[in-house]
């Protein structure tokens, strides 16, 4: 049954998927840094939503939805974009790296670490694509 995106259930489902992925584990063994995914409004999504993941050494330690983005956690990495672009990436209609290069998804954080861990970033996005998702657009 498709899970509504973005939602707390969705990000927790992704956490479970990630933690069972040997591909992610191998590629993210040295990764340290939490991520905030910000989904900007579109379709039936009326306001920006945040999805948080605490990623450490190949595992996701916790994940949850954030209601109040203004007063929330300041993460090491932030990936944000319109929900339409998130959908394109998550349904493999847009390559995630190309999405970031063209500004369709905006990434901020320590780029030196990102450039050494592009494979981990790819496996993170691959995890998104494995979840049966109901999009608001």
């Amino acid at each position: 049954m498709p899970i509504s995106f973005p939602s707390d259930l969705w990000i927790k489902t992704m956490m479970n998927d990630l933690n069972s992925s040997s591909a992610y584990f191998e590629s993210a063994k040295t990764w340290e840094g939490d991520f905030l995914f910000v989904v900007e409004p579109g379709g039936t999504l009326q306001s920006a939503a945040g999805l948080y993941m605490d990623l450490y050494h190949g595992k996701c330690l916790q994940a949850f939805a954030i209601d109040d983005l203004k007063n929330s956690i300041i993460p090491a990495y932030r990936l944000s974009g319109p929900v339409a672009n998130w959908k394109k990436v998550m349904t493999k209609k847009m390559d995630p790296i190309q999405a970031m290069m063209t500004g369709n998804l905006k990434l901020s954080g320590n780029m030196a670490i990102i450039m050494r861990n592009v494979r981990a970033a790819k496996e993170l996005v691959e995890s998104c694509t494995r979840i049966e998702t109901e999009f608001p657009i």
Binding site: S22, A23, E26, S27, D95, I97, Q98, M100, M101, L107, N110, M111, A112, I114, M115, R116, N117, V118, R119, A120, K122
Partner: protein, 381 residues
């Protein structure tokens, strides 16, 4: 781009005050800078030389060069050399214009405002990495023994000058090594995940030129026609794969080069056939060796037949130009491979190019690919 005999004369027509010529000590000793500086002088442009680029340039090398640029304050940066020189010069340029940037963080996502202080000319002396036509910057972290695939689209050179005089005296082994880099760029650029209509035509043409002219350029360096076409092939392949990316052969080759100091082109060319054998065993309809083989006049009845004929043709070419087909032939002992295979496998896994092929390997497959390449075992996994 300006190309062909006399292309260096382009330098007599540029406007500016001061150029920093970035190169390495060997090229300076060989006198390759003389015509460059002479042409700049005719244009009324003062030139100073920074010749301390090392092979497989490091972050420290880039930082030192950028410091020199900040002292000299050029309005032109001219890279005269092979891939190491051109990549290092591009990184120095980024730092010269953005001193706060960490060179190991140069990425295609952020915006660097280049051309506020200087513009960039690339004059390749090998044929070649194609760096004169790409925004890629490959640096080496000597502590981690790892190549870093960096780059930013604004770091594409403003002008590329392809003058056959600058490659005429390349020794045969360097001709062969760098020529195999061209072939690998073209084949991987044609088959990468980001391939597109624009890169396709360029990559096909580059592959055709390599098969026709690399053996000639290798056998007889004075063959101006062969040198010219190989020089063009390198840039054409750069334009191609620079817009579609390289793939697994580069991921494996970077890892090998970082641990064993095998020249880049020799390494990626060695791995190319193995990666084709690997890719063809992936998901159906994800490769495109048939059109490539057909274009070259090779057997192409099926995708598998096309892959086999391409592998054969690449290995025959390698033999013709004295390139190793296995790691053993490249001078690597099994005991040495075993010692570093985990380190190499992780580096290859994490390489920015490894994820660009049609079949993206997990770490076990990467280890098996290194082992297969050890003595030429066919890839059957």
């Amino acid at each position: 781009m300006t190309f062909g005999e006399g292309a260096l004369d382009t330098l007599t027509q540029i406007n500016g005050k001061k150029a920093v010529i970035v190169t390495d000590a060997v090229l300076q000793q060989l006198g390759l800078l003389v015509p460059v500086q002479a042409a700049l002088s005719l244009a009324g442009i003062e030139s100073v030389v920074y010749s301390q680029v090392e092979p497989e340039p490091s972050i420290a090398c880039v930082q030192n060069g950028a410091k020199a640029m900040m002292e000299e304050k050029p309005d032109w940066i001219i890279a005269v050399g092979g891939g190491s020189v051109m990549d290092a010069a591009k990184a120095m340029w980024v730092l010269y214009e953005n001193p706060e940037v960490d060179p190991s963080a140069i990425n295609p996502i952020e915006t660097y405002f280049l051309r506020q202080k200087a513009r960039f000319i690339a004059i390749p002396t090998t044929s070649g990495t194609g760096s004169e036509a790409t925004w890629a910057i490959v640096l080496t972290d000597p502590t981690e023994k790892r190549k870093l695939g960096l780059g930013n689209r604004s770091a594409l050179p403003d002008i590329a000058i392809l003058d056959p005089d600058m490659v005429r005296n390349m020794p045969p082994r360097i001709t062969a090594d760098t020529g195999m880099d061209v072939l690998t760029h073209a084949v991987e650029g044609y088959t990468s995940a980001w391939r597109n209509d624009f890169s396709d035509g360029l990559c096909l043409k580059a592959v055709e030129l390599v098969f026709e002219f690399l053996p000639r350029a290798y056998r007889r360096g004075e063959d101006v026609e062969a040198r010219t076409h190989m020089q063009n092939a390198a840039t054409i392949a750069g334009l191609g794969f620079g817009n579609s990316m390289a793939a697994l052969a580069h991921g494996l080759g970077h890892a090998l080069g970082a641990d064993f100091y095998i020249p880049h082109g020799r390494a990626v060319g060695l791995f190319l056939p193995y990666t084709i054998e690997y890719a063809i065993r992936g998901e159906p309809d994800t490769t495109r060796y048939r059109p490539l083989a057909r274009y070259l006049g090779l057997a192409s009845e099926t995708e598998q037949a096309a892959a086999r004929s391409l592998v054969s043709a690449i290995r025959e070419l390698s033999l013709e130009i004295g390139q190793p087909l296995t790691l053993t032939q490249a001078g690597i002992a099994r005991t040495d491979l075993d010692r570093v295979i985990e380190h190499m496998a992780v580096n290859a896994l994490m390489d920015t190019q490894t994820i660009m092929g049609s079949r993206v390997p997990e770490i076990d497959d990467i280890r098996q690919l290194f082992i297969a390449a050890m003595d030429g075992t066919p890839v059957n996994f």
